[in-house]
Symmetry: C2
Subunit: 410 residues, 2 copies
């Protein structure tokens, strides 16, 4: 896999655009569109929150319907209002948005996926949305600039836009995968929250695309956390239009494995950016659990560490508080022998062993503070129970997280 320039317009046949529809923000783009020249295989993973935003309900019906999920042509996104907890009005807004896109793009509304991000419990201004859709359709382009503009239009409290693209060779043909995404108050209801759109020109059936996506998400987006709150709007969608010309992937062959592996690596790189840009974050905090008894346990343990508010506050304070990390392992809900756990903190400044066999070691506090003062800090937890491993990504908990979330709406 080779990382390249561009985002969702890197793959053949995809165009993107952005516009300032004035939905909530002033003086910036707040709507984006992605359109494929050809019908796409599609797959998506969505929030498991019982309270699902209207656009999530809309997309699930399309992606989960075998008759529809091979024909997707467009995605329409808005920032500012999440269209969640909006009842029948919210579902009607989806209908209106998709219908507007369908008319202007000359496709059917079942070929349009939707996503919203922003405040919960606010209602979309339908006239501005419809005008926005018309403006978006007029400015579609297949340039890197168009993808860049789209990636900026979907931001809420993100401080940087998030774009990525890569090339792989399948069946002798060069295929491209690209993505844009947003969301740094993971996984939270107000920014509503994590959106990721992936495009590829690889030819792959909806079933295999879904399989590759779920495997990739398990190790990437499902392993990041900023604050443990799970949004009503989280959505990750992938569109594959087949224009690279490779033989369609319909089974777990070599091409499938190459595609799935590239998608996994791409999404891990992208997911880490969300964690590093976490609301108020001053550091990327990585938990690497190794020698666990099973992969599932390794994942649960690693997630528990990056989710611990106390550990996150200690990282913010550059405090080598290994006890909080051991404690977070302990309440993860996984059984292990606490008297066998080793804990080491690693960063660009070096590494410092804090615990061995579950008991605290004597270490240089000053050096430990230096190790903990880097922009990326990794806690390596060695369980001595097996051979499975997993990594989770989060960030520290700072004053700014509180400031941002105490008055986000005002």
């Amino acid at each position: 896999m080779k990382i390249t320039e561009g985002g969702v317009t890197a793959a053949r046949g995809f165009r993107a655009s952005a516009t300032a529809a004035g939905i909530k923000y002033q003086g910036r783009d707040d709507m984006a569109m992605i359109v494929s020249e050809q019908p796409c295989s599609s797959a998506g993973v969505f929030t498991s929150n019982v309270v699902k935003a209207a656009p999530v309900r809309w997309d699930r019906e399309i992606v989960r319907d075998e008759a529809k999920n091979g024909h997707v042509r467009a995605v329409v996104v808005n920032a500012g209002i999440a269209n969640a907890c909006t009842g029948q009005d919210g579902l009607h807004a989806c209908e209106v948005t998709a219908q507007a896109a369908a008319e202007v793009l000359d496709i059917s509304k079942e070929q349009v996926l939707l996503a919203s991000t922003g405040v919960i419990g606010a209602y979309l201004p339908l006239e501005r949305i419809t005008a926005g859709v018309h403006a978006l359709a007029k400015s579609l382009a297949d340039t890197p600039e168009a993808s860049d503009a789209a990636s900026r239009a979907i931001m809420t409290t993100d401080t940087v836009n998030k774009e990525i693209a890569a090339e792989i060779t399948l069946d002798g043909k060069i295929c491209r995968i690209g993505a844009i995404s947003k969301g740094v108050g993971m996984i939270e209801p107000n920014m509503c929250t994590m959106l990721c759109f992936v495009t590829t020109d690889a030819a792959i059936s909806p079933v295999m695309l879904d399989k590759a996506l779920r495997a990739a998400v398990r190790d990437s987006y499902n392993m990041i956390s900023v604050d443990g709150d799970m949004s009503t709007n989280d959505s990750l969608m992938i569109l594959a239009n087949g224009m690279a010309g490779n033989t369609v992937i319909t089974e777990e062959n070599e091409d499938y494995r190459a595609f799935a592996s590239a998608l996994r690596e791409l999404l891990i790189r992208q997911a880490r950016r969300h964690a590093a840009d976490g609301e108020g974050a001053t550091a990327l905090f990585e938990a690497h659990v190794r020698q666990a008894d099973t992969e599932e346990h390794a994942r649960v343990l690693a997630k528990s560490v990056v989710n611990s508010s106390l550990t996150k506050a200690a990282i913010f304070g550059h405090d080598a508080n290994g006890g909080r990390i051991l404690c977070a392992l302990g309440y993860a809900g996984v059984d292990f022998d606490p008297d066998r756990v080793d804990l080491t903190i690693v960063s660009d400044a070096g590494e410092v062993a804090l615990y061995r066999n579950g008991a605290k070691l004597d270490y240089d506090e000053e050096f430990a503070t230096r190790v903990l003062s880097e922009k990326t800090v990794t806690a390596v937890c060695d369980m001595h129970a097996g051979e499975a491993e997993a990594t989770a990504w989060g960030c520290d908990l700072s004053y700014d997280y509180v400031r941002i979330n105490a008055d986000y709406r005002s």
Copy 2:
């Protein structure tokens, strides 16, 4: 049940004391002792963290052993060092502490329960502990002042000490129940964390005492949360010495129900104090879930709301962000119909309905802010799914929580 003065010395035959052993803090008491004139039925609930502090391991062996749990005479507690993640040295420290208490009180070491709270991964200074035990034994008294001193000696980041006592009549005899407790960084590894000691002169068998305690804890301490981190040291112990002279409770009769009900109410009052005194808290935040389909679901939903960092930050900002509350219900892991949920915020300033049938209502933001600016704020979540209800208690998330936990050790 009548609330009375005094704490753990309210019940007949219990004495307490405190001393400055110099374990970590200077210029304040940091060890406490509770002693019963007669052997006690005992019961305890302890942290479910896989990483358990040495004193928790010690107590579980006594409380869970039928041959031992009817003979407990004393509890020895220290603040400053948690004796957690300390391996064999930690277990040895327990042995030394209990042995010192046994010698000076002329009992056996299996009659001594232990508790520690403070920094994880630090080792207890054994000479100071032993000297402290001797000083504690010399100053034991059955006065309210002695209980008050003990309740202060066990504090870490608590801003107020927590004592309570009540009287009930069982079988024509007046029985007393009293408690002291500490812990406001619920449930966290560094303060290690929640300790509660309950004494009663009611006569009750260990089996029925355990049953009453578990039922009471389910509705009280298990329904509070400050930060979702679960300590390595959480311990709640109850000692019943039978000196009230009532007929021993050995079955679920009327006396049992009266005792269990009083214990439950007492522990709910006490648990609320922990939440209100939560690290950095400016408000007590209460979630009341009603018309849920089952009690267990009501409890899980209520806990999810008070655990949401985003909701807690909104409470700090007096922001009527009902969407965050609906969202927290949605990811609790309980199925429900989001389109039937009503949400109302209640405080001394009045009440404001934010959502009805899952959709946002039009309300006066200024008035909502006033309702949210009180010292106690309650979110009433009506699920319209059945008749079960539950209440959970937490607090807001403030800058001070970050400050306290970013450099607690320094």
